[in-house]
């Protein structure tokens, strides 16, 4: 079976948000240098083509909702481009 991966600005997207665990607090959006996170009232996703996999959102998430996935994020996981 071939797995398709989401794409970042270059290469695979390695940042994965677990929306079910998210509190939608906006901490990650505030530290994102690329404006690559979309956050609505109770909806969050990474805008792949803008993301540089810098991981600042991973480090700043207060409740461990954003993970660095070194294998890449499959298309089947999460929303967004």
């Amino acid at each position: 079976m071939i797995t398709e991966y989401r794409l970042a600005k270059s290469g695979k997207l390695l940042i994965e948000i677990l929306p079910d665990k998210c509190d939608f607090c906006g901490c990650c959006v505030g530290v994102c240098p690329e404006d690559a996170i979309e956050l609505k009232e109770a909806e969050i996703f990474i805008i792949g083509p803008r993301c540089t996999n810098c991981a600042k959102c991973v480090w700043s998430c207060p409740i461990e909702v954003i993970k660095f996935n070194k294998d890449g994020v499959p298309v089947s996981k999460g929303q967004g481009l």
Binding site: V31, C61, I63
Partner: protein, 390 residues
């Protein structure tokens, strides 16, 4: 029904946005507030502590949204030594979901319109100047034109960046916070407790703020760099297990507090930033309610004048007005923060021990600073500036 065009559109109905809207609307200009959530004031993302004076400048204090009146600070060092300081002014613990709502009502009373569930997702431009916003409302894409957009969109601060201002916060300056409101926690109802040290909250602090008998906000913030190893949540979980294993958690929230000086630029053609979006937070305490309302008041007043006198460039005077009122002071607080957050646990302990040797009647915040200064004399210059600037 909202109109197609307003003099001013404010994005966000927190304290800063509501005050910006109110002080503009009071001048007779048309104002619309767009709030992304379905309720003004909810969800709360805040420790809810503020000084009485900081609130009273804007709204008559009302017991309906005051949970506790604070007279004392207890600063707790890593070895659990308590340094208690009696306050000469009063602090308040708010019920933000009611407080924010009441503030929005004052904006509405002044003539501002409010639309909730309105998610702003882009800006309109006219000849390089911001001229309105795009937003989604109940699944429909809409636009509204405005002569001035005031971004009060909180820690995310995306509206400002769409307008070309650099708003993102260095992750090391972001205090990553978690808080529970828990019953079965019994602090003195007139005391705010602050815990320092690497076990509690490295490059930050842990707080216990009473919200009445048998209930308190227990929360903490850690600097973003800490998050490479451990999350804010892991620190709070271990504190709760150790200190309050039987507490019932009524609400739990996460949030980010930008603990940096104000952004270099908080206005641009057709755009002004207020509150957390402008990083108008006291970087030492992380408090942003009072300073956000002050930022909102200054911005709203100037925006209203700009419209009435048909002088679009007048909004650029906002940066200086803010810096004169609080911005410069926040720069000094930021330096003190960097000094204090560099303290080792041993240093916190020895400050608390020395402070407790000061006769009780002489213990004041000033003494604590003096004690801290003996340990780190370079802070002296920064502290001196705080008092010089006023």
């Amino acid at each position: 029904m909202i109109n197609k065009e307003y003099d001013i559109v404010v994005v966000g109905a927190g304290p800063a946005g509501s005050m910006a809207a109110r002080f503009a609307a009071e001048q007779g200009v048309s104002v619309l507030i767009l709030e992304k959530d379905r309720d003004v004031g909810y969800p709360v993302r805040c420790g809810e502590a503020v000084s009485y004076a900081g609130v009273a400048e804007f709204i008559a204090p009302d017991e309906r949204w005051i949970n506790a009146h604070i007279k004392k600070f207890a600063l707790i060092s890593p070895d659990e030594t308590e340094a208690v300081i009696e306050f000469d002014e009063e602090g308040l613990i708010l019920e933000r979901r009611i407080f924010d709502y009441e503030l929005a009502k004052t904006a509405s009373k002044a003539g501002a319109e409010i639309l909730t569930r309105a998610y702003v997702n882009g800006l309109l431009y006219d000849d390089g100047k911001v001229s309105g916003v795009k937003f989604e409302h109940r699944g429909e894409s809409k636009e509204v034109k405005a002569k001035i957009v005031i971004a009060a969109d909180g820690v995310e601060s995306r509206v400002g960046r769409w307008a070309g201002l650099k708003t993102h916060v260095d992750f090391r300056d972001m205090e990553c916070c978690v808080q529970v409101t828990a019953s079965g926690v019994n602090p003195d109802t007139d005391t705010c407790y602050f815990y320092f040290g690497k076990e509690y909250a490295p490059s930050g602090y842990l707080w216990v703020f009473p919200k009445g008998e048998n209930i308190a906000n227990v929360g903490l913030g850690v600097g973003g760099a800490i998050g490479k190893k451990s999350s804010a949540l892991s620190f709070l979980n271990s504190f709760m297990e150790k200190k309050y294993p039987k507490a019932s958690v009524l609400t739990s929230i996460a949030g980010g507090v930008p603990c940096s000086p104000t952004l270099d630029k908080i206005s641009g053609p057709g755009i002004m930033l207020v509150g957390d979006a402008a990083r108008q937070v006291n970087p030492l305490s992380g408090g942003g309610i009072a300073s956000g309302m002050i930022g909102g008041k200054i911005a709203g007043t100037i925006a209203g004048e700009s419209i009435r006198h048909k002088k679009p460039d007048h909004i650029f005077s906002y940066d200086k007005a803010w810096n004169d009122r609080l911005g410069k002071r926040h720069e000094i607080f930021n330096k003190i923060k960097n000094g204090i957050y560099g303290f080792t646990d041993e240093k916190f302990n020895s400050i608390a021990h020395s402070f407790n040797k000061v006769p009780k009647e002489k213990r004041a915040l000033g003494n604590l600073f003096t004690t801290a200064l003996i340990h780190n004399p370079s802070l002296l210059i920064d502290v001196a500036k705080v008092f010089l600037i006023k």
